[in-house]
C-alpha cells in the first residue's frame, strides 16, 4: 500500500506543483493555460544544467529562473498589453515545446534525449521500492503546498491576490495594484512550474526528452478548476489525477483484453471531464471564479 501511495505521489508531484502555480494565477484573475510550457522549460533546463555543471542547486535555480522569466513575459503581454490569457497560455505551451527542442538543437547540435548523471537527491534512498525513489522535491512538495496555502489564505498579501482575481475594482479601490499582484502570482507560479518541470525530468528520470510534458500542464490546469482555485483543493485534485494515471496503467496491465488499451489511455482525460462536470454541478457554475468579471464601478 505504501508503495502505491509513493508511486501515486511520485506521479502526482509535477501536477501538484503546476496546479499550485495555476491556482495562484487563477486567484489573481488569470487563467493560466501555459503551465505546460513553463514545465517544459523547467524540465529541459534543469537537465541541461545538471549535465553541464553537475550541480543540482544550480540546475534547479536555473530551471525556476527561466520559467519565471517566461512568466514575467506572460504577465507583460496579458496585463500590460491586454492580451487574452487563454491564447497567451496556448502560445506559451507552443514556446515551451518548440523552444526546448530548438534549445537542445542549439546546444547539442541535434535534437534528442539529454541525460544527466546527477539527479535530485533521493530522501529515503535506503528504502527499497517507490518510497526510495521519492526525490527531495517530491518530499518537499506537501510542505510547499501548505506554504502556498498559508500564503494565499492566511496572509494579507494572499488575500490581496485573491481580491485581485475576485473583484479587481475592489482591490484597486483599496490601493492594491492589481497588476503587481498578478505579477507576484505569476512569478511565484513560474518558480513552482520550474520545480515541477525539474521534478518531471531530473526527479527520478534524470533525463529530458522533448515533448515529455505531454499535456500535464493542461491536466494541472483542470485540477485548478476542479479545486476552485483553492490551493489545497487544487492539490487534492492534482493528486486525484495522479491516482487516475496510476490506475490507468494498473488497469492496462491487469485488465488486458477486457478494455482496449486505447480506452485506458483516454482514461485520465475522460475522468477529468467527468470531474469537471461533477464539481460544476455540485458547486454551481457561478461560484467558481469567472472568466471575465465585469462590474461597473
Amino acid at each position: 500500500m505504501i508503495d502505491v501511495i509513493a508511486a501515486v505521489w511520485q506521479s502526482a508531484t509535477p501536477l501538484v506543483l503546476a496546479a499550485l502555480a495555476g491556482a495562484l494565477a487563477q486567484r489573481a484573475g488569470i487563467w493560466h493555460l501555459g503551465l505546460g510550457g513553463l514545465m517544459s522549460i523547467g524540465a529541459m533546463l534543469s537537465v541541461v544544467l545538471a549535465k553541464e555543471t553537475g550541480n543540482i542547486p544550480i540546475a534547479l535555480i536555473g530551471a525556476c529562473f527561466a520559467a519565471t522569466v517566461v512568466s514575467a513575459l506572460m504577465w507583460f503581454v496579458i496585463v500590460k498589453l491586454s492580451a487574452n490569457p487563454i491564447i497567451v497560455g496556448i502560445g506559451v505551451n507552443a514556446l515551451g515545446l518548440g523552444g526546448t527542442i530548438l534549445g537542445i538543437v542549439a546546444i547539442y547540435g541535434a535534437e534528442g534525449t539529454v541525460k544527466s548523471d546527477v539527479g535530485i537527491p533521493r530522501v529515503f534512498d535506503a528504502v527499497p521500492g517507490p518510497v526510495g525513489q521519492l526525490s527531495l522535491i517530491a518530499v518537499a512538495t506537501p510542505f510547499l503546498a501548505v506554504l502556498v496555502w498559508w500564503f494565499v489564505c492566511r496572509t494579507r498579501i494572499g488575500l490581496q491576490i485573491t481580491a485581485t482575481g475576485d473583484f479587481p475594482f475592489a482591490a484597486r479601490s483599496a490601493g492594491i495594484s492589481t497588476s503587481r499582484m498578478r505579477l507576484y502570482a505569476l512569478l511565484l507560479g513560474g518558480v513552482l512550474c520550474g520545480l515541477s518541470g525539474a521534478e518531471l525530468s531530473l526527479g527520478t528520470l534524470q533525463s529530458f526528452s522533448p515533448g515529455m510534458e505531454a499535456g500535464r500542464g493542461l491536466i494541472a490546469f483542470a485540477a485548478v478548476i476542479l479545486g476552485a482555485a483553492h490551493p489545497l483543493g487544487s492539490v487534492a485534485a492534482a493528486v486525484f489525477f495522479g491516482a487516475v494515471n496510476y490506475f490507468g496503467i494498473w488497469a492496462q496491465l491487469n485488465w488486458r483484453g477486457v478494455v482496449p488499451t486505447e480506452f485506458m489511455l483516454m482514461l485520465p482525460y475522460i475522468v477529468t471531464i467527468i470531474a469537471v462536470v461533477i464539481t460544476a454541478r455540485v458547486r454551481g457554475a457561478s461560484k467558481s471564479f469567472n472568466l471575465v468579471e465585469m462590474r461597473d464601478g
Binding site: 492566511r154 473583484f167 475594482f169 475592489a170 492594491i176
Partner: protein, 529 residues
C-alpha cells in the same frame, strides 16, 4: 485653508476626449457633512474617485489639510485618512467578512494570521461598530444592507478622517437611510469629515450642512450652506434652467417648474394625488393564486402569494430589498420555477408558459439592473432595441433585413427622445437616463398589456425620472397593468394607484389611495404582519 479637509484646485479629468470634470476648484471644510449632487453623469463619482486616488487627475491638484496628495495614488490618499464607500460595493464576493475587512486593511501588523484569530479580531470590531454579522460569513450570502454596513465599517477600520460615500442611500430602504444618517452624524461628532453623494433633494436637506453641485463636469454651486438654499434654487442648479430640455424631459412637457418639482417628490412628505385619475378598467390581467416559487438566483422566493393586477392601474411594490421582489417579477415573467399555485396572464393559464410566450401575450419587463438585465452594453443600440423582433415574440424569424431594423430603431429612439449619435453605437456609450429610454422604447410598445417595471428610476436624475413616470402613466392610461417595483417610497406614493408591500415572500399589505405612510412602513418592517 488649513481648515479644509480637502481642497481641489482646477481639477480636470478626461477619459480620452471626453471631459468628465472640467476645471473644478472646490474646498470641503473639516469636520462637516458635505453633499455632492448633480445629474447622472455630472461627474460626482469621478470627483469622489479623484479625491480617493482611484482616478488620476489630468490637470490640477487635490490637497488634504494643505498638503498636495500624490496624483492617482490610493495608498497616498488612504494614508491621509481618506476612505471611500463605493456606489456599488467593493467587496470581493468569494471572501468572508473578516477577509474582506483584512485584505485592504492599513492597520499595522497582522500580515499573517490564523482563521480564528482573524475572525475574532474583526468580530470584535464589527460588534463595536454595531454591525450584526458573523465575521466568518461569506459575503456573497449577505443582503445589500449588511454589505453596505460592512463597506462603511471597512472604510472606518483604519484611521479615517475623511469619509466619502457615493450614493449610499440608493440601495437602502427608508428606515435604513435613517440609521445611516444617524451614523453619519455620530461620525461628524467624532470629528470625521463626510462627503456624501446624493440624488434626493429631501435627503440632502436632511443630512448635509453644505451642498456642492456639479453639472456636466463643471462646478455650479460651491459648498454653499444647505440651510441657505431654497429647493427651487437648488433644483435649478442641478438641472440648469436653459438646459432643462437637454436633461431628458420629453418634448411637449414644460420646463421644470415648481409643479413638476412637486411631481417629482421634492415636497417633503406630503403625498397629494397630484395627477391621480382613476382609469382602472377592472379587467384582470394578472392573477397569482397561492403561488410558491423560488428566485432563479437562489434569493428569497414567494410563499403562497395571491395577487391580482387590473388594467389601467399602476400597482406599486414596496418592501425592503430581498423580501421577494425579484421572485415576484421573475414569477410573472416566467423566469423562475413555480413550485405551487397558478399564474394567469391576460385570461390564460400561464403557470407553465415560457417567458417568450408570455411576452407574446403582451407582457413587458423593465428589469432591475439596466446594465446587465436590461441592455447589452457592448452591443449596438439597434440590436438592443430589436431583440423582441428577432426572437419572434412580436413578429419575424429567420432572415433579417438589418437595414430596416436599424431604421425602425432610429425612429423609435427619436420618438422616445433618446439622445444618441448612431444606432450602431454601443449601449455603454449612453448615459443612464438615455439607456433607460432605450429600454422603454423597446418595452412600451402598443401591444404592451402587462408591464413589470423594476427599479426603473434607480440612479436617474430628476428629468429622467419624470420622463419614466410619464411613460408609465401613459401605459396605464392606455389600459395596461403596471407593476412598479421600487425601493423609493416617495416614488410609489406619487404615481401608484395601489401599493402592495412584500414581506418575507408574502404580501403583507394591499392598499389603495389614500396611502398612509405609517401603515406601509410597519408592513415593510413586519410589524403589522
Amino acid at each position: 485653508m488649513a481648515d479644509n479637509a480637502i481642497t481641489c484646485t482646477g481639477v480636470t479629468v478626461r477619459f480620452g476626449d471626453f471631459v468628465a470634470l472640467d476645471d473644478v476648484s472646490v474646498a470641503f471644510e473639516r469636520g462637516r457633512i458635505h453633499a455632492l449632487v448633480g445629474q447622472n453623469g455630472a461627474g460626482k463619482t469621478t470627483l469622489a474617485r479623484a479625491i480617493a486616488g482611484l482616478e488620476a487627475v489630468s490637470e490640477g491638484s487635490i490637497s488634504s489639510n494643505g498638503e498636495i496628495i500624490p496624483n492617482g495614488d490610493v495608498i497616498a490618499s488612504r494614508e491621509r485618512g481618506i476612505e471611500m464607500v463605493h456606489q456599488s460595493f467593493a467587496l470581493p464576493p468569494s471572501m468572508t467578512v473578516a477577509e474582506a475587512l483584512e485584505y485592504g486593511s492599513t492597520v499595522k501588523g497582522g500580515r499573517s494570521f490564523t482563521r480564528r484569530g482573524l475572525n475574532a479580531r474583526w468580530q470584535k470590531y464589527l460588534d463595536a461598530s454595531r454591525v450584526s454579522v458573523r465575521a466568518g460569513e461569506k459575503l456573497r450570502n449577505l443582503p445589500v444592507e449588511t454589505m453596505q454596513s460592512i463597506e462603511i465599517a471597512r472604510a472606518l477600520a483604519g484611521d479615517a478622517r475623511i469619509l466619502i460615500l457615493d450614493e449610499p442611500t440608493a440601495v437602502l430602504p427608508p428606515e435604513s437611510v435613517g440609521r445611516l444618517f444617524e451614523q453619519i452624524r455620530r461620525l461628524k461628532a467624532a470629528g470625521v469629515t463626510v462627503i456624501i453623494v446624493l440624488h434626493k433633494v429631501r435627503e440632502v436637506l436632511e443630512i448635509a450642512e453644505t451642498v456642492t453641485v456639479l453639472r456636466r463636469g463643471k462646478l455650479i454651486l460651491e459648498t454653499v450652506e444647505a440651510s441657505g438654499v431654497s429647493v427651487a434654487d437648488f433644483t435649478e442648479a442641478i438641472i440648469g434652467g436653459s438646459d432643462a430640455a437637454a436633461a431628458g424631459v420629453a418634448p411637449g412637457t414644460s420646463p421644470v417648474a415648481s409643479d413638476d418639482l412637486a411631481a417629482i417628490g421634492l415636497d417633503l412628505g406630503t403625498h397629494a394625488a397630484t395627477e391621480f385619475v382613476d382609469t382602472a378598467t377592472g379587467e384582470s390581467l394578472v392573477r397569482l393564486v397561492g403561488v410558491t416559487s423560488a428566485s432563479s438566483s437562489g434569493g428569497p422566493g414567494l410563499h403562497g402569494v395571491d395577487l391580482e393586477l387590473f388594467g389601467g392601474q399602476i400597482v406599486g411594490v414596496a418592501g425592503v430589498e430581498g423580501n421577494g421582489q425579484v421572485a415576484l417579477a421573475e414569477t410573472i415573467a416566467g423566469l423562475s420555477e413555480v413550485r405551487d399555485g397558478q399564474v394567469e396572464l391576460i385570461g390564460e393559464s400561464a403557470t407553465r408558459l415560457d417567458p417568450l410566450r408570455r411576452r407574446g401575450l403582451g407582457l413587458r419587463i423593465i428589469p432591475f439592473d439596466r446594465n446587465t438585465e436590461g441592455l447589452s452594453r457592448s452591443s449596438p443600440l439597434w440590436q438592443n432595441w430589436a431583440i423582441p423582433l428577432l426572437v419572434g415574440a412580436r413578429r419575424r424569424r429567420g432572415y433579417v433585413r438589418t437595414g430596416v431594423l436599424r431604421k425602425e430603431a432610429e425612429s423609435a429612439f427619436q420618438e422616445w427622445d433618446v439622445r444618441f449619435t448612431s444606432v450602431n453605437q454601443n449601449a455603454s456609450e449612453l448615459s443612464g437616463g438615455n439607456a433607460q429610454k432605450v429600454i422603454l422604447a423597446r418595452e412600451l410598445d402598443a401591444d404592451a398589456r402587462v408591464i413589470i417595471a423594476a427599479q426603473p428610476t434607480r440612479g436617474l436624475d430628476l428629468g429622467a425620472v419624470e420622463f419614466v413616470w410619464r411613460a408609465l402613466r401613459r401605459a396605464r392610461d392606455s389600459g395596461a397593468a403596471v407593476l412598479l417595483i421600487s425601493s423609493d417610497l416617495d416614488e410609489l406614493m406619487e404615481i401608484c394607484d395601489r401599493i402592495i408591500v412584500v414581506y418575507a415572500g408574502g404580501i403583507a399589505l394591499d392598499t389603495a389611495r389614500p396611502f398612509h405612510i405609517a401603515e406601509i412602513g410597519s408592513a415593510m418592517t413586519g410589524v403589522s404582519a
